[in-house]
Assembly symmetry: C2
Homo-oligomer: 204 residues x 2
DNA sequence: TTCGTCATGTAATGGGTTACATGATTAC
DNA sequence: GTAATCATGTAACCCATTACATGACGAA
């Protein structure tokens, strides 16, 4: 999941670790707390040795930095990571992976956050899978609430009622998204806008 | 968190591990997937050697052995766990703990699920802490959505919009609960263990 | 000069999971 | 007799966290 997010962000543009973390926090909108360096840097290392990204250190490779530094090691020791072709492939692979754990809360959110770079087919698969998941949970909550008045205390019931409502909400949200997708729309507005999104595969 | 939930359930009645897991799944209404035995049993072991619970195996230590003669149910090697006085103390301690991590999604839910055995003071503290947390998240989402239209794609924005809505709803929910608490509108429960509280539902 | 932020990392730990292994009891 | 469920447990791993350590740079 971290790998996925990292690849997704580096797919948009090369970055160093620190920036990656900030972007990640922004992208996921604080849904999860920002990931920590203790997991970020090892992940970068891992991805690099797997060949999915390359790192360019300022001393070994100077990627046209605006040379304001005079001697030796002028700039900070930023390490710019760039996604490779294999990395892009891997990213698509991870996207397409629709195993049951792809529909968990966190996994779904991350996938959704990168929908702009995802094929509509896959978007639909993920949305539908998530909907099924949410509906299952909703059903189980409904049943529980139905036959539980005698053996669950009021607070527990209230918690479940609230959970049920959240399920209903999300189910409706997903429903809308799915119909929009099927109609060829993207969220927010109609498909007519020709905003030249640099990624290009926003809306076919 | 697991410890907390185990103590909370054993506080209600002694149980063996397998049953504990089922109860846990019911209590948390599938909010999280049921915990696995791989974490449950080690936790029980830990709690026992810490003195918070005692185990009674049918062969080695048989406190009751009341009526083995009824062949109807030859109990298997069930191990019944019972909470000790220290365990109850520990449970209250964990309840009262209002560190910032007590307001995370999962931690809050578990605490809430045991509100029936929690003092009103503490209930209020937890509800208010959670509300603050939710409001912080809401604010950060609002800001992000305000100034993000240029650099966040439509899907990411939609995700955050949905998150913001969820925040708003939870904030309202918490608000209602807090005013209800302050007005003393809680179902039956007080300090002693009156188990016959099933009557009241929340609305008053 | 000292503080805050940028920037990269390591070690220890945490809190859980899956997969595996075992066996007893019940229902068909 | 065989399958499903009940019931307990171990070992290996996963994904992330916290706490720690380092250092460069800009601004007060």
């Amino acid at each position: 999941m971290l790998d996925f997010a990292i690849l997704g962000l580096l797919h948009e543009s090369p970055m160093h670790g620190y920036a990656l973390r900030k972007q990640l926090a922004a992208k996921l909108g604080m849904i999860r707390a920002a990931i920590s360096y203790g997991s970020l840097y090892p992940a970068l290392r891992r991805l690099q040795s797997a060949g999915f990204i390359t790192e360019s250190r300022p001393d070994s490779d100077d990627a046209s930095s605006h040379d304001q530094s005079s001697h030796g090691v002028g700039k900070r020791a930023r390490i710019i990571y760039t996604i490779t072709a294999e990395g892009k492939e891997r990213f698509q692979e991870l996207l397409a992976e629709a195993g049951p754990e792809a529909f968990n809360d966190a996994a779904f959110d991350v996938r959704f956050a990168f929908f702009a770079r995802t094929d509509r087919q896959i978007r639909l698969r993920i949305l539908e899978g998530r909907r099924r998941r949410v509906e299952e949970r909703r059903e189980s909550l409904r049943q529980m609430l139905g036959r539980s008045s005698e053996w669950l205390d009021a607070y527990t019931q209230e918690l479940q009622r609230h959970g049920l409502e959240a399920c209903n909400r999300e189910a409706r949200w997903l429903e809308d998204l799915i119909t929009a997708e099927r109609a060829g729309l993207t969220p927010g507005q109609t498909s007519s806008e020709s905003r030249s999104v640099e990624s290009g595969n926003f809306e076919k």
